[in-house]
Every structure is written in structure tokens, then in C-alpha cells.
């Protein structure tokens, strides 16, 4: 009996242990979650950042895309996806339309481009991938653009959660002819922007420092991605030229269709050496142009228009007041001195007149 009871007790203890284990596991499932295990194929790719082509209606152009698997130990299978893009703000940052249901843009290259869907690359291998762009007869002149996104596909056995890096390449195609080209000048003037900031402000009056750059805002209301060119002349109050900027768009920036783009140009450039992580790096920045205090007029002549279309011209003038604090102080001192002198002369004159009157009496 005792033995049986003892065995039963032992069984009960074993069952209790099992129940306890199940309870613990249940609790674990109820309160905990299986970890989000993030796994990805380590991808390192090198691609061309941008390509510009000119294709006439009814013709096609064949070219090559460059892609390199930088990983020396793992192969890469890369899928090539065409993604439309728009502008993102006033700068040259593209806003890729990555949502699967994103509507096709009017300037999309998707209907015209032929390229392979995937590319296999051995470790460290580089390849030139042929592709072609065919513009149908009768297609309107203008700009067509999209991006080619290189998506590394996850390797076998990878988890469902992936962190990956996909470089993409911008592809611009110009179809020559009579296109609708219209750029509206929104603003032009001296521009102030802090390092690392996306946007700054236009200023006419400069007191704490002199301007180091000019900027202009152009709204593109046509169907061509425009890169205007032209020059800027800066004259002082006497009409004498103090500065000539030969290239008003030195970085060859583009205003995309529907974009209001900011173009900046330095009055003077300088190359700075910046040390970071023990390495020296040369950085080109704007610097002050050595203007004397005064009022300046900046006259800008801009031109744009694709090959075969009319050349459009934009002319604008901006006034820049460079009045540093010390200069305002000097002016105020001079004005005070003149006022004081007038006051003294007046006092003297009044004194003399009243003296004469007294003498007459």
C-alpha cells in the first residue's frame, strides 16, 4: 500500500512537474514572443548613379547598365525593377514611388524600356547589362525618366525578415523636338543657408555678414526636365561690374517636371581641408566675395530649351543691401556729428542774432 502510495505520489510529482512545465511554456507563449530574427544577405553593390540618353521618336537606343557585386565571398542574385520618381522638395533628392500600387507618372520610362528581370553575379563580379529604350513614332518631345532599382534577392535559407540595401540608378531620356517648355521664376536673390540644412532663406539686407551665394527658384510647368544655363552680373550702385558669374548653374542641376527647384551659385568658391577620422578631405564651399558695404544689383540671364525647341530666356534683377553693423555705426556717427555741427552753428547764429537785436535795442 505504502509502496503503491509512494509510487502514486511519485507519479503525481512527475505529473505536477509536467503540468508546471506546460504552465511555464503557456505563460511564455502568452507573454513572450518569438524573437524577430532579422536576417539578410549581406549585399554590397556598385552601380552607375545616372544615365542620360537622347532618343528620337520612332528610334531606339541600346546601352548598358553597370553592376558590380562587391562582396568577395558571396554570389548575388539581383532583380532589376523600374521605379518612377518625382522631386522631393526644392533640392535634387528624388522621391521614389516605391508603393506597389503607385500610379505611373506621365513621364515614366516604363512603357519604353526593355531590360532583364534578374542578374546573377559571382562573388566580386562586375557585369554590363544590355538594355534598350524605344520611343514610338509620334511620341511627344520632352523628358522621360524613371529609376532602375537593383534589389538583391535573399539567399537560400534566409529568414523572413530581411534588411537589405538596394542602390538605384536614375535614367533620363530626352526626346528632341518641339516640347512644352515653361519655367517660371519664383524668387531670385542672395541666399542664406546653414551647413547641413535642406532649406535656407532669401535675404535682401545683410548686416552680420556679407552674402556668399545667390539662389533662384524656378517652377517647371513644362514637360521637359530643364537644366538652365546662363550668367549673373553683379553691379554696384554706380553701375560698375564688381562680379561676373559665368555659369549660373555650375552643378548642372535639373528642375524635374512639376518641381519648384532651387539653384544655388557661389559668389566665390574655396576648397577647404576637413579632417575626419584621421583622414583629410577636400570640400568645396562658398566664400564671401569681398564686397564693400553698399547696394548691389544682381542681373541674371538664364536660358533653357532642349535641342530643336525654342530657346527660352529668363531675365531677373535682385537688389542686395550689404550694410554691416560697423558701417551702420560709422554712418550713424557721421550723421550725429553733422547734426551736432548743425546744432552748434544754429546756436551760434541764434546767439549772434539775439546779440545784434539786443544791441539794436
Amino acid at each position: 500500500m505504502y509502496n503503491t502510495a509512494s509510487v502514486n505520489n511519485q507519479k503525481w510529482r512527475d505529473m505536477k512537474k509536467v503540468f508546471q512545465l506546460v504552465a511555464v511554456l503557456s505563460l511564455f507563449v502568452a507573454t513572450g514572443f518569438l524573437g524577430a530574427h532579422t536576417n539578410a544577405q549581406s549585399t554590397g553593390l556598385g552601380v552607375n548613379p545616372r544615365k542620360d540618353l537622347t532618343v528620337y521618336p520612332g528610334k531606339s537606343a541600346s546601352d548598358q547598365l553597370y553592376i558590380s557585386n562587391l562582396n568577395k565571398s558571396l554570389p548575388a542574385k539581383v532583380s532589376l525593377n523600374i521605379v518612377d520618381f518625382k522631386s522631393s522638395g526644392e533640392t535634387g533628392t528624388p522621391a521614389l514611388q516605391l508603393k506597389e500600387d503607385a500610379p505611373q507618372t506621365p513621364w515614366s520610362l516604363k512603357p519604353f524600356i526593355t531590360l532583364p528581370k534578374t542578374v546573377d553575379l559571382a562573388p566580386g563580379e562586375s557585369k554590363y547589362i544590355p538594355f534598350s529604350v524605344r520611343i514610338p513614332e509620334g511620341q511627344g518631345a520632352g523628358s522621360y525618366y524613371s529609376a532602375i532599382k537593383y534589389d538583391p534577392q535573399p539567399g537560400e535559407g534566409s529568414e523572413t525578415v530581411v534588411i537589405s540595401g538596394a542602390p538605384s540608378q536614375l535614367l533620363f531620356v530626352t526626346v528632341p523636338g518641339k516640347a512644352t517648355e515653361l519655367m517660371n521664376l519664383k524668387k531670385f536673390g542672395a541666399y542664406s543657408i546653414k551647413e547641413g540644412q535642406e532649406n535656407g532663406s532669401f535675404k535682401s539686407l545683410w548686416v552680420s555678414k556679407q552674402p556668399d551665394r545667390l539662389a533662384y527658384l524656378l517652377q517647371n510647368a513644362g514637360n521637359v526636365a530643364e537644366s538652365p544655363s546662363g550668367s549673373i552680373q553683379i553691379k554696384n550702385i554706380l553701375g560698375k561690374q564688381v562680379k561676373f558669374i559665368k555659369n549660373a548653374n555650375p552643378r548642372e542641376n535639373l528642375a524635374l517636371i512639376d518641381q519648384t527647384r532651387r539653384f544655388e551659385v557661389c559668389l566665390e568658391t574655396q576648397t577647404k581641408e576637413v579632417e575626419q577620422d584621421g583622414r583629410k578631405n577636400k570640400v568645396e564651399t562658398c566664400k564671401e566675395a569681398g564686397l564693400l558695404p553698399g547696394i548691389y544689383k544682381a542681373n541674371m540671364s538664364l536660358f533653357y530649351g532642349i535641342n530643336g525647341s525654342n530657346t527660352q530666356e529668363i531675365n531677373a534683377t535682385a537688389t542686395i543691401w550689404y550694410m554691416p553693423w560697423w558701417f551702420i555705426g560709422v554712418i550713424l556717427l557721421i550723421l550725429a556729428a553733422i547734426a551736432f555741427a548743425i546744432f552748434k552753428i544754429r546756436q551760434k547764429l541764434i546767439g549772434t542774432t539775439s546779440h545784434k537785436r539786443k544791441n539794436k535795442r
Binding site: 507573454t31 513572450g32 514572443f33 518569438l34 524573437g35 524577430a36 530574427h37 532579422t38 549581406s42 554590397g44 553593390l45 556598385g46 548613379p49 545616372r50 542620360d52 540618353l53 537622347t54 548598358q64 553597370y66 558590380s68 562587391l70 562582396n71 568577395k72 520618381f85 522631393s88 533640392t91 535634387g92 528624388p94 521614389l96 516605391l98 523572413t160 525578415v161 534588411i163 537589405s164 540595401g165 538596394a166 542602390p167 540608378q169 536614375l170 528632341p176 526636365a225 537644366s227 544655363s229 552680373q233 559665368k246 548642372e252 575626419q276 577620422d277 583622414r279 578631405n281 570640400v283 568645396e284 540671364s301 536660358f303 533653357y304 530649351g305 530643336g308 525654342n310 530657346t311 530666356e313
Partner: protein
């Protein structure tokens, strides 16, 4: 004053008024005449280059509309590196129009090239002076050599004159511009390149040595914040720099999900949160500031704010504004779950897309 006015007789006032009006009219007419005498810009001016490749020998068609009805004997076309008439005209490098021939003309016709003034960057079209109409005129020139290089801007300064040699007062003026562009760009040499990689740890500046192709949050519970990080590396010799966007979804398990933080928010235990940033955080202690000599590569707000996290698919997280040397960014991930979070295997796909600027 009133007394003075009263002293003036009415006829005197009338005479003074008539004289004043006559003076204004005379000066107005004179001003109008002088204004009309000023030159105005050609209308609808443009240029077509049959092959815009740098250095190509090709034909140009220059079209314009004479704005001022006047007797025109010459049209001066000067090819320069800038469009402003008051500035010196420098010959665009490689351009040569000295062998140009006038192959066709329409609209205002009867022109021939003035051989005596034909140079590397100047063509003067001459004819017996005659009145211009308002039809669109175009002139085709063969044997024109483009400037060298790609994306080389150049300008044609155009003026019309009564004289037959392009001298004297100008009637209309204006510039047209063109750019050399490769028609088909065959990749025969290493062009600008964009290097980009993402991994848990990146050990070099070439994306060849990367370690740990996964990051792990471990088991999640409501009384703890779970963090992990990965590294993003980019560099480019492209003129317009790059931007890096983050795409993907929040962590999901079937129909269940952990809410993404959509505005910059601190990490709170026990609250459903999934977010990232690219900053050096202290609470929780994770992340790092970007490293590497490509100092013009920067994290974009709000992903640069320490201890604040968010996740919106498609957001730009970092940009650079020009040629950018090596730059490594550390992306930090934060997950919190509430007590009533449904159990399951939560997962997500995060893709960083690096694109050149324009």
C-alpha cells in the same frame, strides 16, 4: 497765396494750362519715338543640332522671328561661352564654324555667308538690304563642329543690322543656347559609380568585408525595450551626391502587428512601438554618429534626433550634396510591446534604397 491766384487773369491761367499740356505731349511723343528706336529681342528663336555629341561635325538649324519690321542687310551670329553681349565672347572649347556653309534658308531669305568675316566662332549672313516680315525664318548650316565634352553649354549671340556687314546699330537681338549631350552613351570606361551596402557590421570602405547578415531582437516581453542595429555604407563620385530612403513595413505576424511610430517619439516600455533612427542614442544606449571622411553625407531630420524614433516607409534618412567619400551610418531599431500583444513570430523587411541626386 489765394490773393496771388486771384491776381492772375483767367486767360492767363488758360494759356499756362495749354502750354503745360503741350509740353507733356511733345515730350511724351519724343520719348515714344526713342523707345521704339530701341532694339528688341528676336521672337521664337531656337537651335537644332542634328548630332549633339561633343566634337561631332554636324549641321545646325537656327530659327528666329524678326520682331521689328525694318530693312535688314545682315544677321550676325557669334558663338560664345556666355550669352551676355556686354561680356567678352570666348570661343567654346572645340567649337569651329569656320567651314560652315549655308545649306538652306526659309522665311527671310537671300542671305549668303560673308566670307570676309567668317571665323572660328563668327558667321555673318549678308544680303541686299530689304524689309523683314513676321514669318519664322530658319537657316541651316552644314559642317559645324560641336564644342568638345558632354554637357558643354554654349550660346549664339544673334543681332540683325541694316548694314550688310553686321556692323552699326542693331535692330533685333537675342541669344540661343545648346548643350552637347551624348546621344548614345556606350559604357567603355568606368563611369561615375555609387557604392552601397547594408549589413550588421561593415568593416571596410569597399563593401567587400561585411559581417553578420542578420540582427536579432531576441524574445520580446512588455517589461523591456528591445534594440538592435545595422550599418549602412555609401560613397559616390557622382556630381549630385545621393539620398538614402528607408522602405518596408512595421513588424507583423500574420494579421497582428506592432504599431510603427509615425512621429519622432521616445522609447516607452509596455507601449507597442517600432521605430528607427540613425543617431547616437543614450536612452536606450544604441547607435552611433556617422563616421568616415564623406562629411557632406548627413542624416536627415528627424532621423538624426537622439532618443527619438520613428518609421515611415519611403522617408529619406540621409543625403549628400555632391561627390561623397566613404560614409558609414548606424541604423538603430527599437521595439516595445504592450502586455496584451498577441504572441507570434513578428518579422519585417527593411530595405534601404540609395539613389543619386539630380
Amino acid at each position: 497765396m489765394l490773393q496771388k491766384m486771384k491776381r492772375l487773369s483767367r486767360p492767363k491761367i488758360r494759356r499756362t494750362g495749354i502750354f503745360a499740356i503741350a509740353t507733356v505731349v511733345v515730350f511724351g511723343v519724343a520719348w515714344g519715338i526713342t523707345q521704339r528706336a530701341d532694339a528688341v529681342r528676336f521672337q521664337n528663336r531656337g537651335m537644332y543640332i542634328n548630332s549633339a555629341r561633343g566634337g561631332d561635325e554636324t549641321y545646325y538649324i537656327i530659327s528666329l522671328q524678326y520682331t521689328t519690321p525694318d530693312t535688314v542687310g545682315s544677321l550676325r551670329l557669334e558663338f560664345c561661352d556666355n550669352p551676355i553681349p556686354s561680356m567678352a565672347c570666348n570661343v567654346p572649347v572645340g567649337l569651329d564654324v569656320s567651314n560652315a556653309t549655308l545649306a538652306a534658308q526659309s522665311g527671310e531669305t537671300g542671305f549668303a555667308i560673308d566670307a570676309g568675316q567668317h571665323t572660328q566662332n563668327l558667321i555673318v549672313l549678308t544680303r541686299t538690304p530689304s524689309m523683314t516680315g513676321n514669318a519664322l525664318s530658319s537657316y541651316r548650316f552644314d559642317n559645324m563642329r560641336n564644342p568638345d565634352g558632354t554637357h558643354q553649354d554654349f550660346y549664339v549671340r544673334m543681332t540683325s543690322h541694316s548694314s550688310t556687314d553686321g556692323s552699326g546699330p542693331l535692330i533685333d537681338y537675342g541669344s540661343v543656347t545648346a548643350t552637347t549631350t551624348p546621344e548614345i552613351e556606350l559604357t567603355t570606361q568606368v563611369p561615375p559609380i555609387l557604392i552601397f551596402c547594408v549589413a550588421q557590421q561593415i568593416n571596410d570602405d569597399e563593401c567587400t568585408d561585411m559581417q553578420g547578415n542578420f540582427v536579432d531582437f531576441g524574445e520580446l516581453s512588455p517589461d523591456q525595450t528591445y534594440t538592435t542595429s545595422s550599418e549602412i555604407f555609401a560613397r559616390t563620385n557622382a556630381f549630385h551626391g545621393y539620398s538614402i530612403a528607408v522602405t518596408g513595413t512595421t513588424m507583423t505576424s500574420g494579421w497582428k502587428s506592432i504599431p510603427a511610430i509615425t512621429t519622432p517619439t521616445e522609447s516607452f516600455q509596455g507601449v507597442g512601438q517600432f521605430g528607427i533612427n540613425l543617431a547616437d542614442n543614450s536612452s536606450p544606449d544604441i547607435g552611433a554618429v556617422p563616421t568616415g571622411p564623406g562629411t557632406n553625407g548627413n542624416v536627415i531630420a528627424p532621423y538624426d534626433t537622439p532618443n527619438k524614433f520613428l518609421f515611415n516607409s519611403g522617408d529619406i534618412v540621409a543625403t549628400s550634396d555632391g561627390v561623397t567619400r566613404s560614409r558609414k551610418y548606424t541604423a538603430s531599431y527599437v521595439v516595445n510591446v504592450p502586455v496584451d500583444q498577441q504572441p507570434g513570430v513578428y518579422s519585417t523587411t527593411i530595405t534601404y534604397v540609395c539613389t543619386a541626386g539630380f
